[in-house]
Subunit: 496 residues, 2 copies
């Protein structure tokens, strides 16, 4: 049965074990692996690699689409074989290794890894591991639940290992739209003018000569952990929906809004769930990941079409989607991440981008990645690709956390991922700050008035007043005090 | 003679004085004015406005393309009539007013003002002032030395004042390529795939009904101040040219390079001048401003074509260009700034972007706008549009200044305009740091080794070592010490 998934019959003799396949990966290699937001990743070969005993030293550079499932990044980090990792991760063990300096991490805009590889601004990919639903007669690959950077890896890697995942039905054929921009200096237009446009192939071109091993797996993607909406995320969602309703009332937007992008996580899910009981209709998504809430909105008819690079859902939703693929196939598309996240398309389509911040400051600068300016959490992911080019760039976070010992609105962020130039709307459970058309001093007052937890409002107002008085400037700051909230937290466990 | 410049003869009776024209501008209005890098700006009407005695209160919001010439921003600031100003300025008097809080400034990516106005994310433009070479029979405007945001102002303003500048020959017709993206949600592709592509009209469409006044001027643009290359700028240019040569040797780039963008100023001029005696040929520019060096390269045959939004040159160069327009007309084009600077085109063309930093830090974050985190210098201009989407994003600055009392390479920048995610190459007179494919801890060492002035190298290395040791993390920092160089300078006049 499973051999029928290799329609390029000349490749049948490449079928082997995960251990054998992993042995093609040598010390010093750059490995490109499929996998984006835990979807469509290598389940067996990377796992075998992590378990293999290799002569010292054995280190690789691992490039993926985005995050991996099944704790794979942690297993590889624990095995001590990661020299360098890019462009994104969410694993607690790997995070620790990055922060103690034992793994070097390159935190990259998700649209850019493919660019950097094609442009030879990064070292060449030696070997690729790509999860596929099946191999076409011509050797091309039909991907599974994500596309990520697999098109680039298939094109550039010298050797390719294929993991055929038999859990994913062959009927997935047609879900993907595979298009790669031409290399410089002869790059043409990417002819997408609406989220539903299909412009490419249904499979990833691959020279069969490069295939060194094929492995069968029947392991499902790691399920998404969906936290149900709570008081804070519901409040954030309500502020945001109310804002959209006002924009419609003003005649700036219609009830169809504009294509939506939502970062991963519970706030995004709460916002999307909020649309369920709204007057908005005929919505579209142009995003990087499709979550449970996407399929709820498709089912209820609120959402007409969704474009992304991956499907990352709970177990129940996974069964719903892959048990009813025909129902969804005309209404979703998965693209390479350098298409789903490409700046030009995000601006052309006028995307409304909703992403999560770790903290933001009174002038609207956003930190999406670092704790106290030093320790990385996950990475910038696609937030920069979208925020920088969106019709509306929205960032959300809770006003305070840890029994209000931490304020997420600060005098100055300890690390900047999104500058004040790129942030239109900030939302916390306390309220929403509309920063459009405001100068820094105006932004500060609006943010203090609308977004700050009451426990911190007075202190933040005082900082702003003293900065204006003592230093002045376009963006008043007391540099010697700008990080005092962070340092106080480090010393006392509270920002108060 | 000058009346022949009004080919839409029904508008002849709109000719009036600058004072009369300025009187159409009322308290509280949003005024959109042509002018980009001191080129093609209003010479008479804004000047008359600044001189008029008006009943108190009289305040306006002024939106331009970019900076204005003839000290106009200073005159308006001195007159106390600017409530708000966007998206860019370079005037010392206005700068002071912004920094003391009396004028509110919105520092905006140059590609975005038109977007924000069309999308109604900013208040509507009440009245526009547009410099033109002549008015076509159909009422459309042929611009002069810049296009800037004039297409947007002409489309959106309720009333329009035209300044016909008779210093600019009518032969300028054909130099401009006027194209505006469609409004959302029906925006199409911008069909430019090479700097030389022309896709639009030769004049700016304008409803003649909106014209309230026409004024004749014969005042030339403010000349660019071109500082001749000095030791430092020459060193920076040489490091950069050497880098390009190495990229060619490695086979990553060809001798034709990729389309060049260069920010305004003496470093950019030095770099472009450096190409004169290089082996590079058939170069193209896809930039926002054409400076003297552009025309030198066109004359020598090094440069094949240059696309921008304005021509800002010295007096001598101005005469050379406008005395020989036919010679240059097929080799340059001026576009609206939301085309010259649009993210999608910059990525599609693979632009090599060279911009000036005020300071950068050991992890490669760049401050382009603020002194000591508070006082604005000019503004972000187009640097973000380009850096964020370029094939190579390069920032240049001197390693140290003020008799080396200021280091421009710091533990942490006091304001972030370009994040580490968007910076590939840093250059100072000391050397060049190639940050591609490097994690933050690697970036720090390369920057310290190659870019820092020797007087500061030890201190910066010490900061980095102690941050790694005491705090660790993906991006090691000692937050309580991160700005100590800035605060020391404030207190002692030296960062040492």
């Amino acid at each position: 049965m499973q051999y029928e998934r290799i329609k390029a019959t000349q490749l049948l003799d490449k079928v082997t074990t995960a251990e054998e396949a992993a042995s093609f990966i040598k010390h010093g290699m750059v490995v490109g692996s499929s996998g984006f937001t835990k979807a469509g990743d290598s389940k067996l070969v990377l796992d075998a690699l992590a378990k293999q005993v290799r002569p010292d030293p054995f280190k690789i550079t691992l490039v993926t689409g985005a995050s991996l499932g099944h704790g794979m990044d942690g297993k590889l980090a624990n095995a001590g074989i990661l020299a360098k990792r890019m462009p994104f991760q969410v694993d607690p063990i790997l995070r620790k290794a990055i922060n103690n300096g034992s793994v070097l991490f390159i935190d990259q805009h998700l649209s850019e890894s493919a660019e950097l590889l094609h442009n030879r601004n990064l070292p060449p990919v030696d070997i690729a591991i790509i999860e596929a639903a099946f191999i076409e007669r011509d050797g091309s690959l039909v991907p599974t639940t994500s596309v990520g950077n697999s098109v680039t890896f298939a094109a550039l890697a010298k050797q390719v290992i294929i993991e055929i995942n038999t859990k994913v039905p062959e009927e997935i054929y047609g879900l993907h739209d595979i298009f790669q921009p031409e290399d410089y200096p002869h790059r043409n237009v990417i002819p997408i003018v609406a989220p539903e446009n299909r412009i490419g192939r249904r499979s990833i071109r691959l020279d069969p000569q490069k295939v060194v091993a094929i492995v069968f797996s029947d392991v499902q993607d790691s399920p998404a952990d969906i936290a149900p909406p709570d008081l804070k995320t519901t409040a954030i969602a309500q502020h945001l929906l109310h804002f959209f309703e006002q924009e419609v009332k003003k005649g700036v937007l219609t009830d169809r809004l504009l294509p939506l992008q939502a970062g991963i996580g519970k706030v995004a899910n709460a916002v999307l769930s909020g649309f369920q009981n709204s007057n908005f209709y005929d919505l579209r998504m142009f995003s990087e990941v499709l979550q449970d809430s996407t399929f709820d909105l498709l089912d209820s008819g609120k959402l007409t079409f969704a474009s992304a690079s991956s499907i990352t859902v709970s177990s129940a939703c996974y069964d719903r989607v892959f048990g009813n693929l025909q129902k969804y196939k005309d209404r979703i598309v998965l693209r390479p991440q350098n298409i789903s996240n490409t700046p030009g398309l995000i601006r052309r389509l006028g995307v409304i981008a909703i992403n999560t911040a770790i903290e933001f400051d009174i002038y609207g600068n956003v930190n999406s990645t670092h704790i106290s300016g030093t320790n990385i959490m996950n990475g910038i992911g696609g937030s920069g690709d979208f925020a920088r080019n969106a019709y509306l760039s929205i960032f959300v976070t809770q006003a305070a956390s840890k029994e209000n010992q931490i304020s997420h609105v600060l005098p100055m962020v300890s690390h900047v991922d999104h500058t004040e130039h790129d942030v239109d709307i900030l939302v916390t459970d306390v309220g929403l700050a509309d920063l459009r058309g405001l100068a820094p001093r105006e932004r500060a007052q609006v943010i203090i008035d609308h977004c700050v937890h009451p426990d911190y409002r007075e202190a933040l107002q005082s900082y702003f007043e003293r900065a204006k008085q003592e230093r002045g400037g376009h963006t008043p700051h007391l540099l010697e005090e700008a990080f005092s909230w962070h340092t106080r937290f480090r010393e006392t466990g509270s920002m108060k």
